[in-house]
């Protein structure tokens, strides 16, 4: 399979006025340039719940001037973006199509926070949801256990957010462009003990897109890995890591013929500070030191925490960031890398996709 990324674009992330199809079309046009697509895959977790817009794939294709082109929406929770990217690569690899436009998008800020939290909590198991456990509350239970087991300190968790905010200052399209300190994180309002507001990625609006092609483009997809796990946290083998991340990472590395040490840059799914730390360890990249700038460079665009987290867009935004890194278009954020790993989580670690990219 020689599937490449030929173009990439993203809108600004944040609280935006534009409606969802408009945001998605802006990113899609940017990624396509003067090319066309013969398949449109749009990743979006809950367009109808957040905005009332159903049938999003057709709404987007029409905005792009692609009415008549096959189009469909892909949903695996917050890993929808990577799922669409993987399916697009598989469609090309299977010889079914030549050019796939993958657009990830979400518009989350039109609803009150409590209502948006309720929609996102729909990703959890019915039994845990019935207790009032939200996504950050489940993350908080992981954090409590990780600190109890001395895998990290409260300061280590806060440092992951400090790192993300520092990187987002260099990214003009990021949602939260404001430096924070460990003290700021520890003093921010409590969400679910011990996680505080600044431990958690924001709810954002935004869209990102990549154009996949057969054999044309500066960035090659080197490996894909995907795994799932039990829906409920109570069903997991570990409370301080994600088996699905480990399995997806191993599958992607095996397909590419890489070892973890071959990864030169990584985009990790840091929806909560504890998930940032666990993910680096699950993928064999490193522990808390990653978030102090030591070892493999991570989340140079601010990650979910500070670039923003319009959930359906996130997996594609990671690909856009890596595309810019690998093509020397990341300006002040750029690191010296030819091989990148993207890690996108759906639910609380139970639908995980890992994508490996290489400059071609």
């Amino acid at each position: 399979m020689d599937v490449r990324i030929a173009g990439a674009a993203m809108t600004r992330f944040g609280k935006l006025e534009a409606d969802l199809p408009t945001l998605a079309a802006e990113a899609g046009r940017g990624a396509m340039g003067r090319e066309a697509a013969d398949l449109v895959l749009v990743a979006c977790m809950d367009p109808q719940g957040f905005t009332g817009q159903g049938n999003l794939a057709v709404a987007l294709a029409e905005r792009l001037g692609l009415a008549g082109t096959p189009a469909m929406r892909i949903e695996t929770g917050p890993s929808s973006g990577a799922a669409a990217l993987h399916l697009g690569a598989m469609a090309i690899g299977a010889g079914r199509t030549e050019r796939v436009l993958v657009v990830g998008c979400e518009k989350m800020t039109a609803l009150p926070v409590e209502e948006a939290t309720r929609l996102v909590a729909g990703l959890t198991s019915p039994e845990e949801r019935a207790l009032g456990l939200s996504m950050p509350a489940l993350g908080a239970m992981m954090a409590r256990r990780a600190m109890h087991d001395k895998l990290c300190t409260r300061q280590d968790l806060a440092q992951a957010s400090v790192w993300a905010h520092a990187q987002a200052l260099k990214h003009e399209r990021a949602h939260l462009r404001k430096a924070v300190t460990v003290e700021d994180v520890l003093a921010s309002p409590l969400v679910a003990d011990p996680l505080r507001t600044l431990d958690c990625a924001p709810m954002s609006d935004g869209a990102a897109a990549v154009l996949l092609t057969r054999g044309r483009g500066p960035v090659r997809i080197a490996g894909l890995g995907h795994a799932t796990d039990h829906l409920a946290l109570a069903g997991r083998a570990s409370l301080t890591g994600f088996a699905a991340t480990r399995a997806a990472g191993q599958r992607a590395l095996a397909e590419a013929g890489w070892a973890a040490r071959d990864v030169q840059y990584a985009e990790l799914h840091d929806a909560f500070s504890v998930v940032a730390l666990c993910s680096g360890q699950d993928l064999g990249l490193g522990g808390p030191e990653l978030w102090r700038g030591e070892g493999v460079p991570v989340n140079m665009g601010g990650g979910l925490k500070a670039r923003g987290h319009p959930v359906g867009a996130t997996g594609v935004a990671q690909a856009v960031e890596a595309f810019e890194q690998l093509t020397h278009a990341a300006a002040a954020r750029e690191v010296d890398a030819r091989r990148a790993l993207l890690h996108n989580i759906g639910g609380l670690g139970n639908n995980v996709l890992v994508t490996l990219l290489e400059a071609s």
Binding site: E114, T117, R118, G132, S134, A140, A192
Partner: protein
């Protein structure tokens, strides 16, 4: 097997429809028996396990 509280949280910002301040624990009640439970509404057996585990494991005080 002794009952254990594996972890817990106090939810300060809950989803719509829930009251802030609820404490939820994850309990290992026996081999292959894990439950998430709200301490104030847990069934009697789980509630007892939670109290025993709090004493035994030294977790921070629950309401």
């Amino acid at each position: 097997m002794d009952a254990q509280v594996l972890t817990w949280t106090r939810i300060a910002r809950p989803p719509a429809g829930f009251v802030a301040g609820r404490v939820v624990v994850l309990v290992q009640a026996g081999p292959g028996q894990r439950y998430a439970a709200w301490t104030a509404e847990a069934e009697p057996r789980i509630g007892q396990l939670v109290r025993l585990a709090q004493v035994g494991a030294g977790w921070e005080a629950q309401p």
